[in-house]
C-alpha cells in the first residue's frame, strides 16, 4: 500500500466517521448554523442540539421583583452614531443620528422575508400591541450579570401580525450598528422574547438600545441585539459574514 492510498483510506475513514457522527448528533443538518469544518463550531452545534432536545420546551426564565433590580453596565455599542464605536457603521450611524434628533418619530421597524404581510411599524404602532413587562437577569458572556425590567411587545405578536410562513425557521435582526444576528423560531416564539422599548419603567435609554432592542432571555446577553431597524424572517440559516458572530469566532447559539 502506497502512502497516497494510506492517506486516502484514512481520509475516507475520517469522512465516514465525521459524517456519521454528524448525522447522529445533528439530526437535521439544515436546521443549524454551518460549522465550516471548525471543531469549536461543531461543539457549539452539539450544545445547541442537546439543549433543544433535552430541555423542557416552554420553560420561562426566572422573573424577579422590582426590588431585585440591580445596576447594569452598558457595553458594546452604546451610541450607533459615535464613529469611535467598536461596531460603527457609517450609513447606519448617520441614519440613527437623523432619527434620534427627531425623537425617533420617523423610526420604523421593517419586517420582511418569509412572511405573508411584509411591512413596517412605528414605535407607537408597536406600543399599541399588548405589552409585556418582565424583570429578568441579563447574563453577559464576559461573566457578569444584572437584573433589569424590560417592557415591550412579544416578538410572537409581531410575527403573527406579519403572518409568518410555516417554512420559516430563523428570525434575523438588523441593527444601526455593525451587528446582525439571528435566533431560531423556537426562541422567537418564546413568551419572554420581546421587542423592548422600555427599561426600568422609562423609555429604553440610548446606551441600552433605543428605540428598540430584542430580549432573548434564555441566551447570553449578546443575542439581545440593540438598536433594531429591521427584522427579516428566513427559511434557512443566514450567515451575515463579518456582521454576525460566526465569522468573528463567536458561537451563534449561547444558551450556555
Amino acid at each position: 500500500m502506497t502512502t497516497g492510498q494510506v492517506i486516502i483510506s484514512r481520509r475516507a475513514i475520517m469522512t465516514g466517521l465525521t459524517s456519521g457522527a454528524g448525522l447522529l448528533l445533528a439530526g437535521c443538518p439544515d436546521t443549524q448554523p454551518p460549522n465550516y469544518g471548525n471543531v469549536l463550531r461543531m461543539a457549539d452545534n452539539l450544545t445547541y442540539r442537546a439543549q433543544r432536545l433535552l430541555l423542557p420546551r416552554q420553560a420561562l426564565a426566572r422573573e424577579y421583583d422590582r426590588r431585585d433590580i440591580t445596576s447594569i453596565p452598558a457595553i458594546g455599542t452604546t451610541d450607533p452614531a459615535d464613529p469611535h464605536g467598536e461596531f460603527y457603521d457609517a450609513a447606519g450611524g448617520a441614519a440613527y443620528e437623523r432619527l434620534r434628533s427627531g425623537g425617533f418619530a420617523h423610526w420604523r421597524l421593517t419586517i420582511d422575508g418569509s412572511v405573508a404581510r411584509p411591512g413596517s411599524y412605528s414605535l407607537d404602532e408597536l406600543k399599541s400591541f399588548p405589552a409585556r413587562t418582565q424583570i429578568t437577569r441579563h447574563t453577559c458572556e464576559e461573566g457578569w450579570s444584572a437584573i433589569a425590567e424590560w417592557t415591550g411587545v412579544p416578538l410572537r405578536r409581531v410575527l403573527e401580525a406579519a403572518g409568518v410562513k410555516p417554512t420559516a425557521r430563523f428570525v434575523n435582526f438588523y441593527t444601526f450598528d455593525g451587528n446582525l444576528d439571528s435566533i431560531d423560531m423556537f426562541d422567537a416564539l418564546h413568551p419572554q422574547t420581546i421587542l423592548a422599548y422600555g427599561m426600568n419603567g422609562r423609555e429604553l435609554p440610548i446606551a441600552h438600545g433605543a428605540p428598540l432592542r430584542v430580549r432573548v432571555e434564555r441566551q447570553l446577553g449578546y443575542k439581545s441585539l440593540k438598536f433594531l431597524h429591521r427584522i427579516s424572517v428566513t427559511d434557512e440559516f443566514y450567515d451575515p459574514g463579518k456582521l454576525g458572530p460566526l465569522q468573528n469566532g463567536w458561537a451563534w447559539y449561547v444558551g450556555i
Binding site: R62, C140, Q219, G255
Partner: protein, 253 residues
C-alpha cells in the same frame, strides 16, 4: 481483566491499570487541562467573583483577582440612576477596551466539557460494573483510622507500584476528585447556563445563585489544581518512568 489478577495482592506488587482506565485517564486528563486553560482565559475577561444571583462591575465584588489588565480597570462614564426617583441601581457606559478572548475560550471550554461529561460517564459506568470504584477507590471498612492514615502518610516517600492497591490518602484524593470535584464542576457549570437556568431553576438555587455557582466553580478549579500538583509530585516521587509506563502501556509493574 481476570478475577485472578484482581485479587488483593501483597504490598509492592501492583495489578496495573486496566486498559479502559488508561484510555479514559488520558482523555480526561487532556480535557481537564483544556478546561483549565480555557476557563482561566474566560475568568480573565471578568476577574471579579460575587455571591448571590447577580453581580457586575457596578456592584460590590466578593473577590477581585489580579489576573488580567481588566483587574480594577477604571474605564466607566459617570453613572446615571436607573430610576427617575433615584435609588441605588445605576447604569454606566464602559469606556475601557477590555481583554476578552471568550470567543474561542468559551467554545473550547464547552468542547472539552463534552469530552469530560461523555468520558466521565463511561468511566463511572465501567467503574461501577467492573468493581473498580468499590474495590480500588472507596476506602474499606475499618481502613479509616488515625493510625492507618499516619502509616499511609509516612509510607508516602517509598516507591509504589503503578495501579491499585492504592494508599488510603490516595483513595481519598481520587474519591474527592471523582465523586465531589468533577460533579461539582459540571453542576456549577450548568448552573451558569441561561437555558439550563430557565429549565431547571433549582440548579443555581442549590448554590445560592448563578454568581455563587460561578464563584464555587472557581474555588473547585483551585482545589483541582492543588490535586493536580500533588498528583504529579506523587507520580514523580513513586517512580515517574514506572508510573507513566503503567498508565500508558499498562501491564504489571
Amino acid at each position: 481483566m481476570s478475577s485472578q489478577s484482581r485479587t488483593p495482592t501483597t504490598a509492592g506488587a501492583g495489578t496495573g491499570h486496566a486498559r479502559w482506565i488508561r484510555v479514559t485517564h488520558w482523555i480526561l486528563a487532556a480535557s481537564v487541562l483544556t478546561l483549565g486553560i480555557s476557563g482561566f482565559t474566560i475568568l480573565m475577561a471578568h476577574p471579579r467573583l460575587y455571591w448571590g444571583a447577580v453581580g457586575n462591575d457596578l456592584t460590590p465584588a466578593l473577590i477581585e483577582l489580579p489576573v488580567s489588565r481588566n483587574y480594577r480597570h477604571g474605564g466607566w462614564e459617570v453613572s446615571t440612576a436607573s430610576f427617575p426617583d433615584g435609588g441605588r441601581a445605576v447604569s454606566s457606559i464602559r469606556t475601557y477596551d477590555i481583554l476578552n478572548e471568550n470567543s474561542w475560550a468559551r467554545s473550547l471550554h464547552f468542547l472539552a466539557a463534552w469530552f469530560v461529561v461523555v468520558t466521565g460517564a463511561i468511566y463511572l459506568l465501567a467503574g461501577i460494573f467492573s468493581g473498580h470504584l468499590r474495590r480500588d477507590l472507596l476506602p474499606r471498612r475499618g481502613e479509616l483510622t488515625a493510625r492507618a492514615m499516619w502509616n499511609d502518610l509516612t509510607a508516602h516517600k517509598r516507591p509504589a507500584p503503578g495501579g491499585p492497591p492504592y494508599g488510603l490518602l490516595q483513595k481519598g484524593s481520587y474519591c474527592a476528585v471523582v465523586f465531589l470535584g468533577v460533579p461539582l464542576m459540571v453542576l456549577t457549570g450548568w448552573a451558569m447556563s441561561p437555558a439550563m437556568n430557565a429549565a431547571y431553576p433549582f440548579l443555581s438555587g442549590i448554590f445560592g445563585g448563578t454568581q455563587s455557582a460561578r464563584t464555587i466553580h472557581f474555588c473547585v478549579f483551585v482545589a483541582l489544581i492543588l490535586f493536580f500538583v500533588a498528583h504529579l509530585v506523587m507520580v514523580g516521587l513513586s517512580g515517574f518512568k514506572r508510573q507513566m509506563r503503567a498508565m500508558t502501556l499498562g501491564g504489571h509493574t
